[in-house]
Every structure is written in structure tokens, then in C-alpha cells.
């Protein structure tokens, strides 16, 4: 039974991330997604400190706040500070992540930081994981519920807001010309990314979230020319990797999250090489 829960939470996270990731990569904001997934750390820690609990809601609020802050800082450093875009992203997320790590070491003394944490270099998350990690059977319903609800909200947001997301992603100038606020849609998307990354941390860890945001979307991008199909394929790719990754981890006796990321990589590589229209090797053969 525990297999099932682990795979299920992986799938739920994969779907949410995969859907949002499509818009991220189409907006050329993949690295902002990466940045947000790291920069929410101080938000999570502060939420933990203020609320004194590991409840999802305060953490989501903390995450969303820092997600918006990250988006705002990147924009401000770039537009008002005159800093180039890639550096704005790099400085913002490393700074916030560093603050998060410091906060943890200052205040979360009872958190057991062992070698594993140091190894991944992403000390914070792995440190938190023993506290908020998923124990099948004990915490199962809680995490699954949260992931499930978030996933449904994301799907609802995409279905209801499809025109706005499509319009502002494809042609921001035209959108502005008909009076649509591109800024609002941008922040909406980034808030959704913040919330999704945090919720996914709980189950699949930091290593994997970035991979889930980008890889399924990138794979789907190469497989189809239609946005609705791309969304569906991204979600499917994510689900397949969750299942495949789990069994790979079992076989190799290794980290599940890492295995899922590996399977994502394999899927992408296969598609990159052999996709019907875009596959590189196929194109060579055609010549």
C-alpha cells in the first residue's frame, strides 16, 4: 500500500508542475521557475517559526509571499537596477536561499542535520524532510489531500484562465494593446509556481521539483504543435516518470526523487532524438 501512496503523490506533483512548466518554458522563464523553487525556502522557514507548526497552510502562505517577492526582486533588479536578466535571477535566488539556510541553522536547532543534507548541498530541504517528510500510513491522507487540491486548483486555473495565459504568453504586446494586464497574469503564474513547488517539496523534495517543472514540458514541446496537447502530454510524461522512477529507485536502492529525475532525462533524450517531427536523429536520416 505504501508504494501506491508514494507513487500517487509523485504523480500529483508531476501533473501540477508539468502543467505550469509548459507556460514557464513558453514564456522563456524556466530559470525563474528554478529560482522560485529555491527562493521560497526562507518563506517556509519563517512560516514554520511563526506558526510553530508544520501545517501546510502557513507554509503555502510563506512560500507564495516569497515567490512573489522573488518575482518582484528579479524584475526590480533588472528594470530599475540596470542588472542583466540572468544575473538578476542568479543573485536573487542565491541570496534568498542563503538567508533561508542561515535561518534554519539559527532557529531550527532541533532539526537534525546529517551528512546526507550536506551532501546534496541543498541542506535546508533535506533537513526539513525528516520533519515534514511523508510517512505512508501516518501522514498519507494529509499530503495527498493537499497535493490533490493544489492540482485541481492548478487545472481549474488553466482551464478558466486559458485565454489569458495563452494570450499573454504568445503575444504580450498584442495583449497590452487590447487592455489586458500582462503584469497581473505574470504574477498569477509565478504565485501558482511558488505554491506548487512548496507543496511538491513535501513529497518529492527539492531536487526533483525543478526537473518536474521543466523536463515534462520540454519533452511535450518536442512532441506536439498544439498547446492543449502539450499540456496533456506534459502531465502524462510526469506521471510515467513517477511510476518508472519509483521502480528504478527500488531496483537500484537509491533515492526515489533522483530516480524520477533520471527517468525524465531518459524520456527527454529519447524524444529529443527520435520524435516524429523534431527528433534530431530522425532529421538526419531524412537527409
Amino acid at each position: 500500500m505504501s508504494d501506491f501512496w508514494i507513487i500517487l503523490t509523485g504523480c500529483l506533483a508531476a501533473v501540477s508542475c508539468g502543467l505550469l512548466g509548459c507556460f514557464l518554458i513558453l514564456r522563456k522563464m524556466a530559470m525563474i521557475g528554478d529560482a522560485i523553487s529555491h527562493a521560497v525556502l526562507p518563506g517556509i522557514v519563517m512560516a514554520f517559526l511563526f506558526s510553530g507548526s508544520l501545517d501546510s497552510v502557513p507554509m503555502l502562505i510563506g512560500a507564495a509571499t516569497f515567490g512573489i517577492l522573488t518575482t518582484y526582486l528579479i524584475e526590480t533588479f533588472n528594470k530599475k537596477g540596470g542588472l542583466q536578466k540572468d544575473a538578476s535571477i542568479g543573485i536573487t535566488f542565491t541570496w534568498l536561499f542563503a538567508i533561508g539556510v542561515i535561518l534554519i541553522s539559527l532557529y531550527a536547532d532541533d532539526v537534525h542535520i546529517d551528512q546526507d543534507c550536506v551532501l546534496f548541498g541543498e541542506i535546508a530541504y533535506v533537513a526539513l524532510e525528516p520533519l515534514i517528510s511523508f510517512f505512508p500510513g501516518i501522514g498519507a491522507p494529509n499530503t495527498v489531500w493537499v497535493l490533490g487540491i493544489v492540482m485541481l486548483l492548478i487545472i481549474a486555473m488553466i482551464v478558466v484562465g486559458y485565454k489569458g495565459l495563452y494570450l499573454t504568453t504568445f503575444d504580450p504586446s498584442f495583449a497590452a494593446s487590447i487592455g489586458v494586464s500582462t503584469v497581473m497574469w505574470h504574477y498569477l503564474l509565478m504565485s501558482a509556481v511558488s505554491v506548487t513547488t512548496v507543496v511538491s517539496f513535501e513529497s518529492v523534495g527539492a531536487i526533483l521539483v525543478v526537473a518536474l517543472l521543466i523536463a515534462p514540458a520540454a519533452t511535450a514541446y518536442l512532441l506536439t504543435d498544439q498547446l492543449p496537447k502539450m499540456l496533456v502530454i506534459a502531465a502524462l510524461v510526469g506521471v510515467i516518470s513517477s511510476i518508472g522512477g519509483y521502480y528504478l529507485a527500488v531496483w537500484l536502492d537509491a533515492s526515489v526523487a533522483a530516480a524520477i529525475a533520471t527517468v525524465l532525462g531518459i524520456e527527454f533524450t529519447l524524444v529529443f532524438l527520435f520524435a516524429p517531427q523534431n527528433g534530431v536523429l530522425l532529421k538526419r536520416f531524412k537527409q
Binding site: 528554478d34 542568479g90 551532501l119 526533483l208 523536463a215 514541446y221 529525475a261 525524465l264 532525462g265 529529443f272
Partner: protein, 439 residues
């Protein structure tokens, strides 16, 4: 005071360990910053992030294949997978519709995932030799020993040497790749060298700050330095200094509070320096922009007041009438305190005088006022003549530009317009002497 003691203890460098830690972090900070300058200029700032995440699988594979923890072998593995990731990012963006930012995010997360897969596999396989593998990778700065510092030292020298040796070429390919190609520079080769030293810097640097924060060691000093200078040579020196200082500070923290993670503190210091630079740097900083704007507002205020006095003089045919501030306000709407502020500045410049609570223009003031009025009218004529703007539309523009035209530009205007007597509204243009002579 405790803090003072700590500072003294630390900087006396009496403790051998402190020496190693400080030296190590300084070398690290400086050499990462140097290399980072070039990736920053090539707008590939996130390459550092990519490489940092990508060296892990290489290290693990090295370990698995050669069954040794020899740092050189592991480093070799790191270099290979780091280099491979850079190549793959370029390959993906060049050979498919996938955009560069997506290629970067994809590569770094997958490589890292594979790396963790291998690492956890190794750890769980109970291979006795693997203990301490992590130590090589992510040992804390506080536990640097002599050998580590020697390694850092050698690598730093190597990096600095390479940069000095190929400085011209690196500069060229950072600024203008196309031009470099056209003059026959083997661009590809130099890009490879640059990538290689970046990978090297990252592989070494991760030991202090960890995977996520490594990108900062490369980007942040370069970004900070950029705000202070437009010259590349100066920029890399400033960046290196910033990197070194931050490294030193990090070592200090780790000395005073051993349980604190060093890496994040280094990054926080770096970031604060960068943000501070963004704000205060003389040319490009935000605060200097605000200062300039304040200066502009002041000049505008002064100019407008002296101009008012002059024009009143033109109208009344007497330039030296005493007027109260209330009277003046009736001619031009300016808030009283601003008006007074402006008048006082003009008084200090001897352009107006205060006589029994009444303000009056001085000779110098008359000259200054005349100049502004002249420029205003000349500029209006320029607008109507060269920009073909209708005469009733030029006043507002001239109201602003009159404040900024320099004496040089004034001369130019006179010549361009051939010392005109009248402005577009048929009003006289005043020259310094009665006749149409310029100064």
C-alpha cells in the same frame, strides 16, 4: 567585548587552522569572481549554476569506475560531466526549438538527479570505500586543512594564470564574438578553455558553499563590480577583491560560530555588496540617479526664478526693481518655501540681493537671466527651423531645454542660426552687448 576579541583573534591569524580557512576562502572567492566576470559578460551567468549541479554524476561515476577517492580522479570525473553539461545545453538549444533557458534548467536538474541517484546508490550499497566521498564534495570551510588550501592555491594560480595569458582573447569573445570570428580568432578553442576553467572553479568552489550557492560565487562579484566601472581590467580586479572579502568574512563567521554554515554567509555578504553597489555606485547606481535628479530640480528652480526677474525687467524696462516675494509669486506660481530656497541660492551666487525684505536682481543676475532667456529663444528658433515645429508648440520644450544647454551648445546654436535677432514669436533675442556680438 566578545566580538572585539573574536575579531582580534581571527585577524591575528595565530591559529593555524584559521590561516588555512581564511586563505582558502579568500583564494576561492577571488578566483571564482575572476572566472565569473567572463561568464557574466557573455550573458551566461547561469552557466555556473548548471555546472555546479552537473559535476555530481561525474564524481560518482569516477568513484564507481576507478574505485578510489583520489581527489584528482574525482576531479577528473567532475570536469568531464561539468564540461559535458555545458556542451549539452548548447547542443540542445542549437538543434531543436528548445530555448536556451529551458535547456539550462533541463540539463542542470536532470544531471543533478542522475548524480543523486548514483550517490544514494553508492551510499546504500555498503561499499566501505565510499565513506568520506561526501566530504570531498561538500566539506565545510571550517574544516579545511593544509592539503585543501594547497589545492585551492594551485587551482587559483592556474585560473589566474590562464586569465592573464589569454586576457585579450577572452575579452574579445566576451564582447564581440562575431568580430572575433571575422579576424580569424579560433573562437571555439577559446570558448572551450573558458568553459574548462569555469568548470574547474566550480568543482573546487562547491566544497565551500555547496551546489545551490555556487552560482553566486561566480555571478555576484562580477555583477557588483560592473556597477563601478566600464573597464574590463578594473572590473575583474574589483570583482576579485569583492570575492576575497566575502570569503574572508565567511571564514570569520565560521570561526566565531562553528555551527553556522559558511557558504550562505559568504553569499549573503556578496549579495549585500552587489545590492549596495546597485544603489550607490557613482555612475550607474540608483542613488546617484536620485542625486542627479535633485540637482536638476535645483537648477530648474534657480533658472526659472532668475529668468522671471529678467523678463520682468524687460517688460518694465527696468531690471532693478525691488519686489516682495508675494509680488513675485503673483507672476509665477511656485510654492513659497521653494521660492525662498531658490532666492537664497541665487543670493549666495550674488545674482540677487535682499534689501529690506525685498528681492532685487543684481548685475550678475541680469547677465545670468539674460543668458537663459537668450537660450530659450534661440532654442525655440532651432525647433521651428530644424525640427519644423509650429511656433505655438515650442515654448514648453524650450522651458525645459533652456536649463541644460551648455555654453558650447549655445555657441553652436548661434552659429547654426546665424546670430538671429528675433525668436519665432518675433521677440528680441538678447545678446551680451547691444550689437549682435557674442561674448
Amino acid at each position: 567585548m566578545w566580538l572585539m576579541d573574536q575579531i582580534v583573534d581571527f585577524f591575528s591569524f595565530q591559529d593555524v587552522n584559521i590561516r588555512y580557512v581564511a586563505l582558502g576562502t579568500v583564494l576561492l572567492g577571488a578566483s571564482s569572481a575572476l572566472v565569473g566576470c567572463f561568464t557574466f559578460l557573455r550573458k551566461k551567468a547561469l552557466v555556473g549554476d548548471t555546472i555546479a549541479h552537473s559535476i555530481l554524476p561525474g564524481i560518482c561515476l569516477s568513484f564507481m569506475i576507478f574505485e578510489t577517492k583520489d581527489p584528482l580522479i574525482l576531479l577528473l570525473g567532475a570536469m568531464v560531466s561539468g564540461w559535458l553539461s555545458v556542451y549539452i545545453v548548447d547542443y540542445i538549444s542549437a538543434n531543436s526549438k528548445i530555448k536556451p533557458d529551458t535547456a539550462i534548467g533541463l540539463t542542470l536538474s536532470v544531471f543533478f538527479g542522475v548524480g543523486v541517484l548514483l550517490l544514494t546508490h553508492i551510499q546504500h550499497s555498503g561499499n566501505a570505500a565510499q565513506s568520506g566521498l561526501d566530504k570531498f564534495l561538500f566539506g565545510k570551510a571550517a574544516s579545511l586543512v593544509q592539503n585543501d588550501v594547497i589545492t585551492f592555491g594551485i587551482v587559483s594560480v592556474l585560473l589566474i594564470g590562464t586569465i592573464i595569458l589569454f586576457f585579450k582573447q577572452f575579452s574579445l569573445i566576451s564582447f564581440d564574438v562575431h568580430f572575433a570570428k571575422t579576424i580569424g580568432l579560433p573562437v571555439r578553442a577559446f570558448e572551450v578553455i573558458l568553459s574548462s576553467i569555469t568548470v574547474l572553479a566550480v568543482a573546487i568552489g562547491i566544497q565551500t558553499v555547496g551546489v545551490v550557492l555556487m552560482a553566486a560565487m561566480l555571478i555576484t562579484p562580477a555583477a557588483a563590480a560592473r556597477f563601478w566601472t566600464d573597464k574590463l581590467k578594473v572590473m575583474i580586479v574589483i570583482a576579485a577583491i569583492i570575492g576575497a572579502i566575502s570569503g574572508l568574512f565567511g571564514a570569520f563567521i565560521s570561526f566565531t560560530a562553528p555551527s553556522m554554515p559558511t557558504g550562505p554567509w559568504i553569499v549573503v555578504v556578496l549579495s549585500l555588496i552587489a545590492i549596495g553597489s546597485m544603489l550607490i555606485a557613482p555612475k550607474n547606481g540608483a542613488i546617484s540617479k536620485i542625486r542627479k535628479q535633485k540637482n536638476n530640480q535645483r537648477k530648474i528652480l534657480e533658472d526659472n526664478i532668475i529668468k522671471l526677474l529678467y523678463k520682468l525687467g524687460e517688460k518694465e524696462n527696468d531690471f532693478f526693481i525691488n519686489r516682495s516675494i508675494t509680488t513675485l509669486k503673483s507672476y509665477r506660481e511656485i510654492p513659497t518655501n521653494n521660492f525662498l530656497k531658490g532666492l537664497n541660492i541665487l543670493k549666495k551666487k550674488n545674482q540677487v540681493a535682499l534689501v529690506n525684505d525685498l528681492w532685487v536682481l543684481t548685475e550678475e543676475g541680469k547677465t545670468a537671466g539674460m543668458r537663459i532667456v537668450k537660450i530659450h529663444r534661440l532654442w525655440e528658433l532651432y525647433l521651428t527651423t530644424y525640427l519644423r515645429i509650429a511656433p505655438d508648440h515650442v515654448h514648453e520644450d524650450a522651458e525645459t531645454i533652456e536649463h541644460i544647454i551648455t555654453p558650447e551648445m549655445e555657441l553652436k546654436l548661434e552659429h547654426l542660426l546665424n546670430f538671429p535677432e528675433k525668436d519665432p514669436h518675433n521677440v528680441n533675442i538678447p545678446y551680451k552687448n547691444e550689437k549682435n556680438n557674442n561674448e
